[in-house]
């Protein structure tokens, strides 16, 4: 805080009366009573605020309607995206459950077939892993690549 009373008074005037404490207001009143230059400053500031508030700046109806329409369209898009994401999550959960339930049976069935075909254990186990997990890994990589692509596109468009 400055020690120059004129600057202090002008700082208080600039803050506006609602953001100044009672004691500061009282001090300012006394100062203004005895200081013509600060009184002029206060009057000029008051006049400016009155003028500023009297300037009519209005949004036109077309802008408001366009904005409302854009907001509604975007809202619908977000809703649809949320529904799609819900479907994806449900599919993932169902696939996960299905894999957890069926894998032990398939493992046994594959082993039984390998035994019949006289294939050694390490070979059929590796074959099973490739047959069982390769499609899922490929699909995951594809989804990941697409996800990264979408994130980049959003970042660019929002930027």
């Amino acid at each position: 805080m400055t020690h120059d009373p004129h600057q202090q008074a002008q700082e208080l005037i600039a803050c506006g009366e609602h953001d100044v404490s009672d004691s500061q207001q009282a001090w300012l009143r006394i100062h203004l009573h005895g200081c013509a230059s600060c009184r002029d400053y206060a009057q000029a500031a008051e006049q400016f605020v009155r003028s500023l508030r009297s300037v009519p700046v209005v949004a036109d109806l077309a802008l408001v309607r366009t904005t409302q329409m854009r907001v509604r369209l975007r809202s619908r898009e977000l809703q649809q995206r949320r529904e799609r994401m819900w479907l994806v999550w449900m599919s993932c959960i169902l696939v996960g459950l299905s894999v957890a339930i069926t894998t032990p049976f398939l493992w046994r069935g594959w082993g039984w077939l390998a035994e019949r075909a006289h294939v050694s254990s390490p070979v059929w186990q590796v074959e099973f892993m490739i047959f069982w997990f390769a499609p899922a890994i490929a699909a995951s990589l594809l989804f990941l690549a697409r996800g990264i692509h979408l994130t980049d596109a959003n970042g660019t468009s929002q930027g």
Partner: protein, 197 residues
């Protein structure tokens, strides 16, 4: 806190809570109402921030899209207008920074003039001319000062935000806001006086 003040605070909290709930649900009716309610204040702020009608209108629309997308982040402890202005400000600053990596003033200097909306109220030709002159005088004076001073002055004296709210909107400390108001007024008043002379 006396009963009236308590009633006022509770009333404000319940209103902001209702807004927060509606924004969380992305309630289109609520958004329509908010757009209508804050249309003039937001556009006025953006106009003074950008000094460009077209850009201000673009930012107006983008602000409401952002309000829709980030509605769940609104904290009902604060006034909705404070949050709205801070979104508008961030969007505008980001846009201007990307468009031209200099301060807001750089853009303002390049503009040919301020095109604030003409008034709809036209009681008489004389009053119309007087209003027009006053508007041009104030706009010219505001455009002539630094953007951060102009922003503080518009938020304080036109939108009636408290100092703490301006600090929240701009992300600047309270002391900086006080200083911007003081320096802004000091820069502005001589310009207005000069324009009147």
């Amino acid at each position: 806190m006396n009963a009236a003040a308590c009633y006022f605070v509770n009333g404000m909290e319940s209103e902001t809570s209702a807004i927060a709930r509606g924004l969380h649900r992305r309630d289109p009716e609520l958004l329509d109402r908010l757009i209508e309610q804050y249309q003039h204040r937001l556009l006025r702020y953006l106009l003074y921030l950008t000094s460009n009608r077209e850009l201000a209108e673009d930012m107006f629309q983008e602000t409401w899209i952002r309000v829709l997308e980030r509605g769940h982040q609104y904290n009902p402890k604060y006034e909705f207008s404070t949050w709205l202005f801070s979104i508008a400000r961030n969007l505008t600053v980001d846009y201007l920074r990307k468009k031209r990596p200099v301060s807001l003033d750089g853009l303002l200097d390049a503009e040919e003039g301020v095109s604030l909306d003409p008034p709809d109220l036209r009681p008489s030709a004389l009053e119309l001319v007087a209003q027009q002159e006053q508007r041009e005088r104030i706009s010219a004076a505001l455009v002539g000062i630094a953007a951060e001073y102009r922003e503080a002055i518009v938020l304080r004296f036109q939108e009636g935000l408290a100092l703490e709210e301006i600090a929240a909107v701009t992300g600047a400390p309270l002391g900086t806001i006080k200083s911007r108001l003081y320096r802004g007024l000091n820069a502005l008043l001589p310009r207005l006086k000069g324009a009147q002379a």
